[in-house]
Amino acid sequence: MEIGKPERTIVIEPVESPVPQKEPVEAPKEPAPVKVPEKEPVPA
């Protein structure tokens, strides 16, 4: 590739990576525990 003559050398350190980060896949939410209704005491 023709880019002409070299002029100077520099160092570039990006603060954030220019590589796009893949969004983490969210783990499927666990269903809320089902509350089992307590048995009412049977009157004697």
């Binding site: 590739m1 880019i3 002409g4 050398t9 350190e13 220019p18 590589v19």
Partner: protein, 168 residues
């Protein structure tokens, strides 16, 4: 990226990566391929420059060597080096040239692909793996994108004059 406090830490001249243009072909696995080398660009990881000389440079891009990842300053200069065009970020050790850069690390930021190549949809899905926007261009769009600016046209004319002058 060098860690602050490590013996290899160098105070950077810039924290902004350069943004230029590059042309690619494709490997059999539909990965971007640098025009002059067999190097495939892997989605999700930056390409690191590698000096291909028998006695490789200690640091790439080298001062005396012409190694490094080449990035052009305009789409016009990158066109002709591959049928896929794209904007590309460059960083790390960087040699600034008259009309582009040679860099240590690079990753595409946007891809432009001839619409005819994207017809099947399979290539589009493969290119999306890079995680950057992929745009289909018809012939007309491609020509507009790669039209030289007045300054570039002047530069080419100057080069041609010098070249034809040398031949005489």
């Amino acid at each position: 990226m060098s860690e602050k406090g490590s013996p290899h830490f160098v105070v950077p001249d810039s924290i902004e990566p350069v943004l230029g243009w590059k042309g690619w072909t494709l490997t059999g696995m539909c990965r971007l391929r640098s025009p002059s080398f067999v190097t495939a660009w892997i989605p999700g990881s930056p390409l690191k420059a590698d000096c291909g000389q028998a006695v490789p440079c200690q640091e790439t891009p080298g001062k005396r060597c012409r190694c490094g990842i080449y990035i052009a300053g305009s789409a016009y200069r990158a066109a002709g080096y591959g049928y896929i065009l794209g904007k590309v970020y460059g960083w790390g050790k960087t040699v600034v040239h008259e009309t582009g850069w040679r860099v240590e690390h690079a990753y595409p930021s946007e891809l432009f692909v001839p619409a005819t190549l994207l017809d099947s949809g399979a290539l589009f899905r493969e290119l999306q793996e890079y995680g950057v926007p992929v745009t289909a261009l018809d012939d007309w769009d491609f020509r507009i994108l790669t039209t030289p600016t007045a300054t570039e046209a002047e530069w080419v004319l100057e080069r041609m004059k010098k070249w034809t002058g040398k031949k005489r």
